[in-house]
C-alpha cells in the first residue's frame, strides 16, 4: 500500500517525460518540429533569397524569422497529443490517481518548449554552416533564448487550449494550422514594407512581427526596446489567455 502521495511538481516531471517521449517517437512530429524549419531555411536562402532585396545578407535576415517559424511548427503535434489524452480514457486514469490538471497540462507545455529549443539549436547550427553571421553579444544571445522560451510557453499554452477545446483528434490537428501559417504573414520571410496594401498593415500589427523584430534586433546587436516591450506584452497576453482557457476547458471536460 502506497501511503505517500506525490506532489504536483513531481507529477509534472513524470508527465513531461511522457509527453517528450511521445514527441520523439512520432516521426511526423519530429519531422515537423526539427527538420521542416531547416528545409524551409535552405529553401528560402537558396531558392528565393536572391530574389528578395532586404538590405542585408538574406541568411541574416531570415534566420530570426525562421526561429519563430520553428516554434510554430513544433506546435502542430501538441494540440493533437492534448486532444488524444482528453478523448481517450487516459485522462480519467490520471484524475483518479490524483494527478492534477496543472501537471497534465504543464507536462505538454514544457515538452513542447524543450522541443522548440532543440529544433532552434539545430536550425541555428545549420544557419551558421551556410553563412549566418550574427553580431550578438553573450547577453544578447541570452535575450534570444529568453524570448524563445517566453514565446514557446505562450504559444504552447495557447495550443494546449486549442487541443482541449477540439472535439476530436482530427479537428485538433487543424486547430494549429493558423499558428503555422501566421509567420508567413509577418516580417519573418520578407519585410512588411514589401507587401501589398492590406497585407502590409496586417503584417505590421500582428503579434509575431514585434517578436521577430526583437529576435532580429538582438541577433544583429541593434535591439529596439519598443519592439521588445510589444513582444513581451503579446507573449504574456497570449500565454495568459491560453492558460486560462485551457484550465477552464479541462474543468468542464474531464
Amino acid at each position: 500500500m502506497i501511503t505517500q502521495r506525490m506532489s504536483t511538481k513531481s507529477h509534472s516531471i513524470v508527465m513531461f517525460r511522457r509527453n517528450f517521449a511521445h514527441i520523439t517517437r512520432n516521426p511526423t512530429s519530429v519531422f515537423n518540429a526539427v527538420l521542416m524549419p531547416i528545409v524551409i531555411l535552405l529553401m528560402f536562402v537558396y531558392m528565393f533569397g536572391d530574389a528578395f532585396d532586404v538590405g542585408v545578407d538574406y541568411i541574416d535576415y531570415a534566420t530570426p524569422g525562421l526561429i519563430l517559424l520553428a516554434v510554430c511548427y513544433g506546435l502542430s503535434g501538441v494540440a493533437v497529443s492534448v486532444s488524444s489524452d482528453m478523448t481517450k480514457g487516459i485522462v480519467n486514469r490520471f484524475k483518479v490517481m490524483d494527478v492534477s490538471r496543472g501537471a497534465v497540462l504543464t507536462g505538454h507545455v514544457v515538452a513542447s518548449v524543450l522541443t522548440n529549443l532543440i529544433a532552434i539549436a539545430a536550425l541555428i547550427g545549420v544557419a551558421f554552416l551556410i553563412g549566418f553571421n550574427p553580431s550578438a553579444s553573450l547577453l544578447e544571445w541570452l535575450g534570444v533564448v529568453g524570448m524563445v522560451v517566453l514565446l514557446g510557453l505562450a504559444t504552447g499554452w495557447f495550443t494546449v487550449a486549442l487541443g482541449m477545446a477540439a472535439k476530436s483528434v482530427e479537428t485538433a490537428g487543424m486547430a494549429a494550422v493558423p499558428l503555422v501559417m501566421l509567420p508567413f504573414f509577418s516580417s519573418a520571410i520578407v519585410p512588411a514594407e514589401m507587401m501589398g496594401q492590406g497585407l502590409r498593415q496586417f503584417a505590421e500589427y500582428q503579434p509575431f512581427t514585434p517578436i521577430i523584430e526583437t529576435l532580429r534586433g538582438l541577433l544583429n546587436g541593434a535591439a529596439s526596446s519598443g519592439d521588445a516591450i510589444a513582444a513581451v506584452a503579446w507573449c504574456v497576453g497570449i500565454g495568459l489567455v491560453g492558460y486560462l482557457w485551457a484550465s477552464l476547458t479541462f474543468n468542464k471536460r474531464a
Binding site: 500500500m1 502506497i2 501511503t3 505517500q4 502521495r5 506525490m6 513531481s10 507529477h11 513524470v14 517525460r17 511522457r18 517521449a21 511521445h22 517517437r25 512520432n26 481517450k88 480514457g89 487516459i90 480519467n92 486514469r93 490520471f94 484524475k95 483518479v96 490517481m97 490524483d98 494527478v99 474531464a254
Partner: protein
C-alpha cells in the same frame, strides 16, 4: 455498516432533462464482487464515474472505503483503482513503460517499482510484448495491461467498467481468472457488465440497472429464480395448430403474432423425446424448433416487461 466498501443511498444524476440515475441504493461488502448488470445506456458507466469521483452526483450520498466521494475525494482516490470501458493505456509507450509511468506517478521507490513492473508483466502474460508499443497490442492485451496499470497502486477497491466487452471468449476467461485472483487477495470488485453469464460467474451479488433504477438486487441464484428457465420454442404455420399445441402442453406461453409457443423444459434428451412424441400423438409438426437458455434479454423481460433493446 463497518465492513461495507461501497455504500450508496439515493444517488441521482441527470444530464440536462435526461435522468440517468434515479435514486440508486446499494451496499457492497468488503472483499466481495458486486456486479451491476444492464444493457447499453442503462447508466452503468455514469454510476461508475460518480463512484470513482470523476463526476459529481446531483443528489444522494456515496461513501467509498468509508469516505464521502464529494467531500473526501483525495482519500477515496487513494483507495480505489479504475479500469474503464475504453482501455486507458498510452499507445505510444511500450507495455513496460506504461507500467513504469504508473509506478512513477504513484511515487514507488525505484527498486520496488522495477520488481512490481516485472511481476505484473509476468502475471498478465505480457512479458513477450513488454518492449513493443501498445499501439500494436490486441484488444485483449490492452485490457490486461489496463488492469495491470490499475494494480500498480495496490488499490483495495477496484472498479471494472465492462472489462470483457468486445473480448474473444478466451481473453474473457483469462480476465475472469485474474478477477478471481484479486478477490482471493481480499480486494473488493465493483463490476459492470452486459453479460448475465459474467455476473453469474463472478459476482457475490448482482443488481440489475434499467433506465436509471435498480429493478432487482440479490445473488445470481435469487435473480435467476425470477426469470423463465430453459424452455423450448415451437413455431407453427397455422393458428389451429398453435391452439392445439397450447392445449396439450402445460405452463406454456404463447405468442400469437409469431405463431410460437414456449414450453418449459430442462432440455435433456428424455424430456425432448417426450415433447416430440406428444406432438406426434396429435399429428402436429412444428415448422421451427429451438432450445432457449435464459440470457440478459430474459432477465429484462421478466423484471421490466421490456427487452434490452427497448431500454436503449
Amino acid at each position: 455498516m463497518t465492513n461495507s466498501a461501497i455504500a450508496v443511498s439515493g444517488l441521482r444524476k441527470a444530464f440536462g432533462d435526461k435522468i440517468v440515475l434515479d435514486g440508486i441504493d446499494l451496499d457492497v461488502r468488503a472483499g466481495t464482487v458486486f456486479s451491476l448488470l444492464g444493457p447499453n445506456g442503462a447508466g452503468k458507466t455514469t454510476a461508475v464515474n460518480v463512484l470513482t469521483t470523476l463526476m459529481k452526483a446531483d443528489g444522494g450520498t456515496v461513501r467509498v472505503a468509508g469516505h464521502d466521494v464529494a467531500t473526501e475525494t483525495k482519500a477515496v482516490r487513494a483507495a480505489i483503482g479504475v479500469t474503464g470501458q475504453f482501455a486507458a493505456v498510452d499507445e505510444l509507450l511500450t507495455g513496460q513503460e506504461n507500467l513504469q509511468l504508473m509506478v512513477d506517478l504513484n511515487g514507488v521507490p525505484a527498486t520496488e517499482g522495477k520488481r512490481i513492473v516485472a511481476q505484473l508483466l509476468e502475471r498478465f502474460e505480457l512479458v513477450e510484448s513488454a518492449q513493443t508499443p501498445v499501439s500494436t497490442y490486441s484488444g485483449g492485451m490492452r485490457r490486461k495491461l489496463d488492469l495491470a496499470m490499475t494494480l500498480v497502486g495496490s488499490p483495495r477497491i477496484i472498479f471494472l467498467d465492462e472489462p470483457t466487452t468486445g473480448l474473444d471468449p478466451r481473453s474473457r476467461r483469462t480476465m475472469w481468472e485474474i478477477i478471481r485472483d484479486l478477490v482471493a487477495d481480499g480486494v473488493t470488485i465493483f463490476l459492470t457488465t452486459q453479460y448475465l453469464e459474467e455476473a453469474d460467474q463472478l459476482a457475490d451479488r448482482v443488481a440489475v440497472l434499467d433506465q436509471g433504477r435498480l429493478v432487482a438486487q440479490g445473488t445470481a441464484d435469487e435473480l435467476k429464480r425470477q426469470i423463465p428457465g430453459t424452455h423450448i420454442k415451437l413455431r407453427f404455420t397455422t393458428v389451429t395448430e398453435l391452439d392445439t399445441a397450447a392445449r396439450i402442453f402445460t405452463d406454456v406461453t404463447r405468442d400469437d403474432e409469431a405463431l410460437a409457443l414456449r414450453v418449459p423444459s430442462d432440455a435433456g434428451t428424455d424430456s425432448l423425446r417426450a415433447l416430440l412424441d406428444r406432438l406426434d400423438e396429435y399429428s402436429l409438426s412444428a415448422e421451427e424448433f429451438s432450445v432457449h437458455t435464459p440470457d440478459l434479454d430474459d432477465v429484462f423481460l421478466a423484471l421490466t416487461g421490456h427487452t434490452t433493446e427497448a431500454a436503449q
